[in-house]
Chain length 213, copies 2
Amino acid sequence: MVTYKGQISKAVIRRLPKYRRCLNELIKKGITKVSSSELADLMGYTASQIRQDLNNFGGFGQQGYGYSVDKLYEEIDRILGLNKSYNKIIVGFGRLGQAMGSYIINSEPNLRIVGIFDVKQTIQSAEHDEFKDAQVMTCKSIISFVKENPVDIALIAVPSYKAQVVAETVVEAGVKAIWNFTAVDLDLPDDIKIQDIHAADSLYALAYYINEK
Amino acid sequence: MVTYKGQISKAVIRRLPKYRRCLNELIKKGITKVSSSELADLMGYTASQIRQDLNNFGGFGQQGYGYSVDKLYEEIDRILGLNKSYNKIIVGFGRLGQAMGSYIINSEPNLRIVGIFDVKQTIQSAEHDEFKDAQVMTCKSIISFVKENPVDIALIAVPSYKAQVVAETVVEAGVKAIWNFTAVDLDLPDDIKIQDIHAADSLYALAYYINEK
C-alpha cells in the first residue's frame, strides 16, 4: 500500500502518463526491472528528477535493485485511477469525435462510450458498426440521457462556437469531468474537472521553436 | 521593436497561445485595451504572473493604461512566428489526419498543406474536395516529394506502430519540425523540433482528478 505525501503537483501528474508509456514499452520488450538512471535515459529526464517524481507516491524502488517494471506500471495505473471503469459520452461526432471514439474503443478498455450526440445529419453519416454499442442521439437528449445513465466523462468535439453552450448543458446534466477538444477555454464551475486538447497551442509552440535562434 | 531578454522558458511559450486566444476574444468583442488584472481574471492567472510573462518580451504595456489589445495580439503572433507562412505535409490521413487537415484549412491561413501521404486505400476513401489543393500520394513518395518541395512541418497521424519509421523518413527527407499526433514518444536527433499531442495523457490526468480527494 502506497502512502501519498499530500497533494501531488500538476507537473508530476502531467508526467505520469509518459512514465506509463515508457514502462509499457519495457513490458512489451520483456524487461522486468529498471533503474532510475535507465528510466532517465529513456525519458530524457534526470535520474534525480525521476526519483523525486516517484517519491511523491512513497517511492517503491529498492536501493541497488531499481524498480520492478510491472509493479511500477500497476502503481501508476492505480494512482491515475486507470484501474477503474468510466462511462463516457461523446458530444460532437465529426471526424475528430469519431477519431477519438475509435481510439477509445481500440485502446482504452476501461472507458465505455455509452452515448454519442450530434446534429442529425452528422449522426446519419457516422453510423458505423464500430460504434454500435453506443446510443446515438441528437444533442437535445443530453440532459435526459445523462440523468438516467451515469456518465463520468464527456468528450466535447463540437465546433468552437457551440463549445460553451454544450459544456454548460453536460454540466447541468450532472457530468463532472470534461475532455475538451474544442479551441475554446471553457468557463465552468470550479468543481468541474477539465482537460483541454488545444492542438493549435502546440502548433504555435512549434512555429516558435522553428524560428528560435 | 521589442527586445527579447535571452531565452524564453518553455512554460511561457506554452502560455502564449492562451494569451493569443484570449486577446482574440477581446478583439471580436471590440475591446481595444486591457489591464494585466483584467487579463488575469479572464485567464485564471495572477496579474503579477501576466506582467512577468509579458516582460520576457520587453513589456509593451504602459503604466496606468494597460495593454493595447491589437498590438499585444500582433506582438504575440510575431513572437510565435505566426506572421510567416509554413508549408506542411500530413502523413497518415485517417479520421484524425483529416480532422486536423480540415482544421488547418479552415483556421490556419498561414499553413499551407502541400502534400498528403497515406496507404493507397485510405487515400482513395479520403479524396475530398476540401483537400483538392494538396497532392495526395503514398508514403513511398515522401522523400522524393520533400526533396523537391520545401516542407517546414510534418503532421504525423499514422498508427502508433508506424510512427517511429515514418518520423525517421520525414527527417531523412529534410523536415525539421514534427507535429506528432501518435501515442509514441519519437526518438529523433536533437535538432528536430517536436510537439506531441498525446491525447491519452490528458485523459489519464482527467481520471486522476476525478478520483482526487
